[in-house]
């Protein structure tokens, strides 16, 4: 019997008092040493912190001196320290996959309080892990080469930073942007908190660098359609939407935009409070400096669609280039790219405040969103930086800023959008500075946890901005009684500090609408093989220790796509993602976890059930042999196919049926003994 030949060492960690405070560690050690002796356990020890250097050396020493062939560490979750202990084994010359962890912290100490029961459960888990490790096989890491080119999706500040960092290190970057220009939401802002430096002044140099960098290949007005492959070897299909402009010929002179007679509301860059032409620049400093034609509003396209004839074509008539830069017949194109790593920086969308009708957004003329006010504050915006009411002329005398619109509200989004408090303070400052209006902030809590953020809050208080603590109930254009003036907006709020109901008349209301994931984040996540949280943000690999990687190797996240964050945090995460990618590139090849599924071809009936179930698209059907085949580099070892295969033809290395049945036997050791006694 194998167990007689194997020499197993069991190590029980105290984790300070994390485990030892609940589990009787010594009793577990005694159990392993005495009761599991016949299962091959030759020694069992406990130690305060197994993960410390001294703890690891203990294992290494025993492997060398006691000739251990299997190691079980009963400590925390393998998520945390499996690599640590496998490393120790490897250093001592033992195949790292012959070590297993028994989670007696997360699965026992942290979830139970009764000593006796917790200790008994810890023993069961150790027993199960010993049985399992006996069936482990020595595995070799899978090595794959890394393609040095990198895909960055999203040209906002996070994506720009990531792209520039990778490109500066000398590697090719493909930067994909859905909109017609780089810049993202940051390009819409006037000033940035807390320093009030101009957003354009700090953003446009980065946009220009990215636009002209020899290593950065720009794909604006483009979207990623399909991703295949695995870390180091991704094949990406990109759809280039037609701009109806010949990018190679157009000089960006702008005559077409000037001559276009169609004016439409710009819901995108101007957030709905400005106009653009049917052929337009996304904004003045757009990169690339090329206009884009919107076929939904262009007279020619509408005419061609409805009446079978074109019309207008002013842009083409006035275009001075030879050949003409306007290409009415341009079609969408598809480009295939080979990359080794992917950074997703797809950003956020604004909460639609129309969903809270009692605030009147979309209905009352002088209720604006925070993004609309950002455009209004911007010197290049539709009002030239003037704070005005809907009539475009009158300056407001009083402005109310409503915080937490759609955020921290179980009717809409439960999370804090993180940036709106500081943005509201900034807008309060700008409105007061430019219009002299009285400004009221209606807040639940003010959250200013960044560097120099609370100082900015104090500054805004000192400037005389009013703060009312209370959630706004209602914004109404109807006076409550004859004492109230008509033509005002009344903010009904419970002032929870004063213990009063207040009705504050203002001329303008600004709603601090929160951040939401992109409406198609779930689809985009699926394209790249990563998942979204219940709130729709991309899930990082580890909330604290790895907020940059994802569960799919070679796919990283940066910026608000992972969760609401401000500009400094987005930049930091973009740079961090680039650093991780560069580290992979420099390694040249990558060792992958050998925990993989494989098909026993003799048993496979070719039913293809597993093909569609694999979340990593790792299984394909081989027509010639009529069997399914698993790409080992693509497989993440999740086990879905192993469980699903009706013929039991799929084996998971590290998770074989033998191992799992042995583990269950071990877990039920006590039960079995009792039954035998009876």
């Amino acid at each position: 019997m194998t167990s007689q030949q194997e020499r197993v060492g069991v190590y029980v960690c105290h984790c300070g008092s994390n485990i030892a405070g609940v589990v009787d560690v010594e009793s577990v050690v005694k159990f392993a040493a005495e009761e599991l002796k016949d299962r091959g356990v030759v020694l069992a020890r406990d130690y305060t912190f197994m993960c410390s250097v001294a703890g690891q050396e203990l294992i290494e020493q025993d492997i060398r001196e006691q000739g251990l062939t299997r190691v079980v560490v009963a400590a925390c979750s393998p998520h945390l320290h499996e690599k640590t202990f496998r490393g120790a084994c490897e250093r001592a010359g033992l195949n790292p996959y012959l070590a297993e962890m028994a989670s007696i912290r997360e699965h026992v100490a942290w979830v139970h309080s009764g000593h006796a029961a917790a200790t008994a459960k810890a023993k069961s888990i150790v027993s199960g892990t010993v049985e399992r490790v006996l069936k482990n096989e020595a595995l070799d890491a899978i090595k794959v080469p890394i393609d040095a080119a990198t895909l960055v999706v999203g040209g906002g500040i996070a994506g720009l930073q990531a792209a520039l960092e990778v490109a500066e290190a000398g590697y090719e970057v493909y930067l994909i942007e859905r909109e017609a220009s780089l810049g993202g939401h940051m390009a819409q802002f006037d000033k940035t908190f807390p320093t009030l430096d101009c957003a354009a002044c700090i953003l446009t140099p980065k946009m220009a660098s990215a636009g002209s960098h020899p290593k950065i290949h720009l794909f604006t007005w483009s979207e990623v359609e399909k991703v295949e492959g695995f870390v180091g070897n991704y094949t990406v299909s990109v759809k280039k939407k037609p701009r109806y402009i010949d990018e190679d010929v157009c000089t960006g002179c702008g005559i077409c935009v000037e001559k276009c007679p169609v004016l439409v509301v710009d819901d995108n860059f101007e957030a709905g409070i400005g106009y653009r032409k049917a052929i337009y620049w996304p904004f003045a400093q757009a990169v690339p400096n090329l206009p884009v034609l919107d076929p939904d509003t262009c007279t020619y396209f509408i005419g061609a669609k409805t009446k079978d004839k074109g019309g207008c074509k002013a842009c083409e008539i006035f275009c001075p280039t030879v050949p003409n830069s306007i290409l009415f017949g341009q079609k969408e194109e598809r480009v295939t790219l080979k990359v080794g790593n992917i950074i997703l920086a797809t950003g956020w969308e604004l909460f639609n405040a129309r969903r809270i009708p009692q605030y009147g957004y979309g209905r009352l003329a002088n209720v604006f969103s925070n993004l609309e006010l950002e455009r209004m504050c911007n010197a290049a915006g539709p009002t030239g930086g003037k704070i005005v009411l809907r009539d475009g002329q009158t300056a407001p005398k009083a402005v109310g800023i409503v915080h937490c619109v759609g955020s921290r509200d179980r009717n809409y989004n439960p999370y804090c959008s993180a940036i709106c408090c500081m943005q509201s303070l900034k807008l309060a400052h700008l409105v007061k500075e430019r219009s002299g209006a009285e400004v009221y902030n209606f807040y639940i809590d003010i959250r200013t946890p960044g560097k120099d953020y609370d100082e900015f809050y104090q500054r805004v208080i000192d400037e005389g901005v009013h703060f009312v603590r209370g959630k706004v109930a209602d914004v109404s254009d109807v006076p409550l009684g004859p004492g109230e003036e008509s033509g005002k907006l009344y903010i009904q709020v419970e002032d929870t500090l004063a213990g009063l109901q207040r009705r504050i008349p203002v001329d303008m209301v600004v709603l601090a609408s929160g951040l939401e994931p992109r409406h198609d984040s779930a689809e985009v996540g699926k394209t790249f093989g990563i998942s979204c949280s219940t709130n729709g943000w991309f899930i990082e690999k580890h909330a604290k220790l790895d907020p940059i990687a994802t569960m799919t190797d070679g796919v990283f996240v940066a910026g608000c796509a992972q969760g609401p964050k401000d500009i400094p945090a987005s930049v930091a995460q973009g740079a961090a993602a680039a650093a991780r990618v560069l580290s992979y590139i420099r390694q040249g090849e990558l060792a992958l976890e050998p925990v993989r599924a494989s098909v026993v071809e003799e048993q496979c009936s070719g039913c293809r059930l597993c093909n569609g179930l694999c979340p990593y698209n790792a299984i394909s059907f081989v027509e010639e042999r009529r069997v399914s085949e698993i790409n080992a580099a693509l497989c993440q070892g999740c086990g879905t196919c192993v469980a699903a295969c009706p013929a039991g033809a799929i084996q998971g290395s590290g998770y074989s049926n033998e191992q799992l049945f042995a583990q269950i036997e071990g877990l039920l050791r006590e039960v079995r003994h009792e039954t035998e006694v009876v």
Partner: protein, 321 residues
């Protein structure tokens, strides 16, 4: 469609025009109403605060009778908001609260009755009209469209909230009656106070509080340019119409805002005569407003603006889409 019908006390007296107009139009919209035999008062808004179990039992009796008499339909509809809410509330709370369910059924058993919560679908009349009969069927019946009539759709506070069974598109700013009015050819005005309180029985208990609330609603409708207010509740109609005169006296104001039931407007559009619909019984005369109804649809302002907007036009207007 067929539905069980709970008229409630108001419809017998002060809200008689509501009942009359409903009866006048029911054939047009193919609505067959089966009145619950031997129904009793719903306890209005107050009784629930005085004695919860007794109030639920009072309402439970109506539900039990309806369940017993139900033959072709499990839909129980009421035109009065308070009646509707009480019926819906008792049904919902008996569903959720096993103890209440047992207690109420114990009380009902004394009268030889029983009610199985959830066995009836309690629906407000507007809900049935808009969502079951449907706008298209209603529009098809219109012979005299209400062109040119600007109407403030007023839902009051008890119909769209708390919405136990998810019947309404929006709880704070519903649009069902607005769509109905559009189907009738009228023009619903956009206003802020669709679901604000009319004052309820405060007009009797504390008139000054009610006057303030009534004034706000009447002022809001006037400010929005409405010719009249359309309502779906006898209490709302009574407060806004009968107490409008008192409110004017209190504030030395001179508002003249007629308040009609949506069923009366449906009747007009279906070509019924005003008398048959109970029009003329209101305190604030609706005749001047109804005189605005034009035979022809008013010309919609040229939607396509050829001219480019100038700075004096201001910012693009707000939109709900």
């Amino acid at each position: 469609m067929k539905a069980l019908f709970y008229p409630g006390c108001s419809m017998q007296k002060n809200a008689r025009p509501y009942l009359d107009s409903l009866l006048a139009i029911r054939a047009d919209i193919d609505l067959e109403l089966q009145e619950i035999d031997d129904w009793n008062c719903c306890g209005a808004t107050e009784y629930m605060s005085v004695h919860r179990v007794a109030a639920h039992s009072l309402i439970g009796r109506n539900l039990a009778l309806a369940q017993q008499q139900a033959s072709d339909s499990d839909v129980l509809t009421a035109g009065c908001s308070a009646c509707y809410l009480n019926l819906a509330k008792t049904d919902a709370q008996m569903r959720e609260d096993a103890h209440l369910n047992a207690t109420v059924n114990e009380a009902l058993a004394a009268g030889g009755l029983a009610y199985q919560p959830g066995s009836l679908k309690v629906r407000h009349l507007l809900d049935v009209v808009c969502h079951d009969i449907g706008y298209a069927a209603i529009k098809a019946r219109v012979v005299k469209p209400l062109h040119g009539l600007k109407v403030a759709a007023y839902y009051g506070c008890q119909v769209a909230r708390p919405d136990y069974d998810g019947r309404w598109d929006c709880h704070e700013h519903p649009t069902a009656m607005d769509q109905l009015l559009r189907a009738l050819g009228a023009e619903p005005v956009e206003w802020s106070l669709k679901t604000q309180c009319c004052g309820g029985h405060m007009s009797v208990i504390g008139p000054e509080v009610a006057f303030g609330l009534i004034r706000r609603l009447i002022h809001g409708a006037t400010q929005a340019g409405a010719d009249l207010v359309a309502t779906l509740c006898p209490m709302c109609q009574l407060n806004l119409d009968a107490y409008q005169v008192e409110m004017n006296k209190h504030f030395h104001s001179d508002y003249q805002m007629p308040v009609l039931y949506f069923t009366q407007l449906m009747g007009l559009a279906f070509g019924k005569n005003a008398g048959e619909l109970g029009i003329g019984k209101e305190f604030v005369d609706a005749a001047p407003a109804l005189a605005k109804i034009q035979a022809e649809a008013p010309k919609v302002a040229e939607a396509k603006r050829k001219r480019r907007p100038k700075p004096s036009d201001g910012l693009p207007p707000p939109r709900m889409e």
